[in-house]
């Protein structure tokens, strides 16, 4: 028998990359669950303002959210393009994905700038600041990590180092992470901008 045996068909054996990425996503989900629970636990609590309904604006965040959710679809298009061997299309879809993600980060920066310098809300101000910046900040941190990963792939694509047969699955696994960042945002948005703003 040779060193590399083909996967036997007697039992379900998923690819190890898929299992590994699924595990990572599960762990990250429980990590975020901790911060979401803390946010929900502390809604309406705190000794002093500013309060969420005084300072949070939903409309610009909705636009940013649309950009992030759209980037999930463009990354799917990019993975599919790589799978079909359309390297140029793959690069352009990926550029679009990264731009949409960067837009989201820019939006977060604009929002935070207003909160910090106009409303004087920081991590230390009150429980709202503590829970808001930690939850939204950890999400933004994950978006940035995702952007770095996608940019690495784009760099490899520009250098012509991607081979569809070998790399489509790898790219798809990175795209799973990107979808995860997206789905977490749906939960964060619901927590902060819907439940947290309920009168």
């Amino acid at each position: 028998m040779s060193l590399a045996t083909a996967a036997p068909a007697d039992s379900w054996r998923p690819g190890r990359g898929k299992v590994g990425m699924a595990c990572l996503i599960a762990m990250e989900s429980f990590f975020f669950a901790g911060f979401i629970i803390a946010y929900l636990f502390y809604i309406g609590k705190g000794a002093t303002g500013p309060w969420p309904r005084e300072v949070l604006e939903v409309k610009p965040v909705l636009v940013n959210s649309a950009a992030l959710i759209a980037s999930s679809f463009t990354v799917i298009a990019s993975v599919k393009a790589l799978g079909r061997g359309h390297l140029a299309a793959m690069r352009w879809w990926l550029v679009l994905t990264i731009l949409l993600g960067a837009w989201f980060i820019w939006g977060t920066w604009v929002e935070w700038r207003g909160l910090i310098w106009e409303h004087g809300l920081t991590l230390r101000t009150n429980l709202f600041g503590t829970t808001f910046y930690s939850l939204v900040g950890f999400h933004a941190f994950h978006v940035i990590v995702g952007l770095l990963a996608l940019s690495t792939i784009l760099g490899l694509g520009v250098m012509g180092r991607l081979r569809p047969a070998r790399d489509t699955l790898r790219f798809e696994l990175v795209s799973w992470y990107w979808h995860f960042v997206d789905v977490v945002w749906v939960f964060v948005f619901t927590t902060v901008y819907i439940v947290g703003l309920r009168p």
Partner: protein
């Protein structure tokens, strides 16, 4: 390939530095497993010394062997070390060593990630212990962490915990926690994806099944602890208010988050020991395991229920009665699958030709001691009972019966059972039997009286007590048991060192066992199997040894 390895002059020239270098850069799951187990045992000795210092202090009333703060540091470091730097690494180390061998694979799914996880654990532990030197911080107050292993808020706030000792606790545990999480990813990916031909999930050795479930629990529980620790770190370093009561922050939130991790953690520490028993008991009873599918189902049930019992650590917090009642009920419920397992092991032993070699002795000791710990656990699930005895020595006695009488006895059984596979030498049987009986006696002398001092009202974590409480005799007996336990552990350590050179040569399969790790040489070659095996039942070596009577396929 083999000619490359067999050149005598290159072996002779390999000095100590080269060999150490080889261990430092290895990605071999067997070497990493051994390193996990050995570093865990080193931490085990350290934690034992810390416990000994506590018992010296409590041997008589108004003793001054330790300062109050020194005592607090001792129980904090003892608990933290035993849970995070002994229990988890030793058990995960056995998983590392055994899983690929048991499922017929050449290594883990991600060997380099595996090495990364080990070094994270080791340096996380080193970071925790560095607090003895660096914990003073800029305030000149501190040293090792002294907030207890569950680090309740607001004791951990800057106000009450000055210096950096609590930050060392957070960071050391967080780093080693990342190590545990990478290991869990590896276990899941290895067990799901790397099984040899014919190794269906229902032919998986039960140890591998338990490790699979443990990995799921690690993935579920540890990130929540990490999140809570990040919150605490933000509170302490950046002035956030998660657990700051002055800003309406809640100490109870920390307890919820910590125990949501903390109770599954208990099962992370005991399920691998269940796995050891499920491998060892059948071999030494010469019978197939009783109720394999039920065993798997009970393990999965334990994992699910264990995620919903954490409030039984918080019965005296003052939560609403319906909540206490709910979690008391779920705690009763979890004893059902655990009971199923005990009966399955007894059913395996029933009518078998039992050989009481040392591994089996430790398994039998496990069954008796763990049963006591389980029963006091059910007592503590009764809310009014806990209202009386919460945070007393009764609780300390209870969880030492589970974690020492259970987990540590299981680990010793596993060491005696798999040492021949890892080293090629048998451990000395006579020394092993002496060690078992001495340890069993010492264990009961130490921990049984704790139930009585607890029932008499002695709270845990007090550094001294008044002479008129009726606690003196029980504390004296407890402390007198410590040297007996030390002797037992020392015998095992001595046995492990001595047998490395002088032990009887083991051969491939010294116990006449049935799982795949015994199909390769002892110690196994770096690539585990010359040919990847193909299996047709849950006991591949039984089939090979008894071709006229192979295991019948269970439909």
């Amino acid at each position: 390939m083999s000619t490359l390895h067999a050149q005598p002059e290159s072996v002779a020239r390999e000095g100590l530095m080269e060999r150490l270098h080889g261990w430092a850069i290895t990605v071999d799951h067997k070497r990493l497993g051994i390193m996990y187990i050995l570093s865990g045992l080193v931490f085990f000795v350290v934690a034992g010394l810390e416990a000994t210092a506590m018992r010296m202090q409590l041997i008589r009333p108004l003793n001054d062997f330790l300062t109050p703060q020194g005592f607090n540091q001792m129980f904090t470091m003892h608990g933290t070390t035993m849970v995070f730097l002994v229990g988890m690494p030793v058990l995960l180390g056995f998983g590392n060593f055994l899983i690929p061998l048991m499922i017929g694979a050449r290594d883990m799914a991600f060997p380099r990630l595996n090495a990364f996880g080990f070094w994270l654990f080791l340096f996380g532990g080193a970071l925790l212990y560095f607090s003895w030197l660096g914990g003073d911080g800029l305030y000149g107050a501190g040293g090792a962490p002294d907030v207890g292993w569950f680090a309740y808020s607001p004791l951990t706030s800057k106000t009450f915990s000055r210096g950096n000792s609590t930050d060392y606790w957070i960071l050391g545990i967080m780093v080693s926690g990342f190590g545990s999480m990478t290991t869990a990813i590896n276990f899941l990916a290895t067990i799901l994806c790397m099984r040899c031909p014919g190794m269906t999930l229902m032919r998986l050795p039960l140890m591998a099944w338990m490790m699979l479930v443990v990995a799921v629990l690690v993935i579920t529980a540890i990130p929540v602890l990490t999140a809570a620790q990040v919150m605490l770190l933000l509170d302490r370093s950046l002035g956030a208010h998660f657990f700051d009561p002055q800003q309406e922050g809640s100490a109870v939130l920390w307890q919820h988050l910590f125990w949501f991790f903390g109770h599954p953690e208990v099962y992370i520490l005991i399920l691998p020991a269940f796995g050891f028993l499920s491998e060892i008991v059948p071999v030494f009873s010469r019978k197939v395991i009783f109720g394999y599918p039920l065993m798997v189902a009970a393990t999965v049930a334990i994992a699910f229920i264990s995620l919903g019992v954490w409030v039984h650590h918080m019965f005296v917090v003052g939560l609403p009665p319906w909540m206490n009642a709910l979690f008391a009920a779920s705690t009763f419920l979890i004893s059902v699958p655990t009971g199923i397992k005990i009966f399955n092991w007894l059913g395996t032993m029933w009518g078998g030709r039992i050989r009481f070699d040392t591994p089996m002795l430790f398994c039998t000791g496990f069954l008796a001691m763990f049963l006591i710990g389980g029963l006091t656990g059910i007592m503590l699930a009764v809310v009014p009972f806990t209202t009386q005895l919460s945070d007393s020595y009764f609780v300390v006695g209870h969880f030492h019966y589970v974690l020492f009488g259970g987990t540590v006895f299981g680990i010793f059984a596993a060491i005696f059972y798999w040492y021949p596979k890892a080293t090629g030498r048998m451990l000395d049987e006579r020394l092993g039997k002496w060690a078992f009986w001495i340890l069993l006696i010492g264990f009961n002398v130490v921990f049984l009286p704790m139930h009585f001092s607890g029932l008499l009202g002695m709270p845990r974590r007090i550094y001294t007590y008044q002479p008129d409480r009726g606690w003196e005799i029980w504390n004296l007996i407890t402390t007198l048991g410590v040297p007996i336990q030390i002797l037992g552990v020392a015998l095992i350590v001595w046995n492990m060192v001595r047998s490395l050179g002088k032990g009887r040569v083991a051969g491939d399969d010294p116990w006449d066992a049935w799982t795949l790790e015994w199909a390769t040489s002892s110690p196994p070659p770096e690539w585990n199997f010359d040919r990847i095996p193909t299996v047709t039942s849950a006991r591949p070596l039984w089939d090979r040894k008894n071709p006229h009577d192979p295991d019948e396929e269970q439909p």
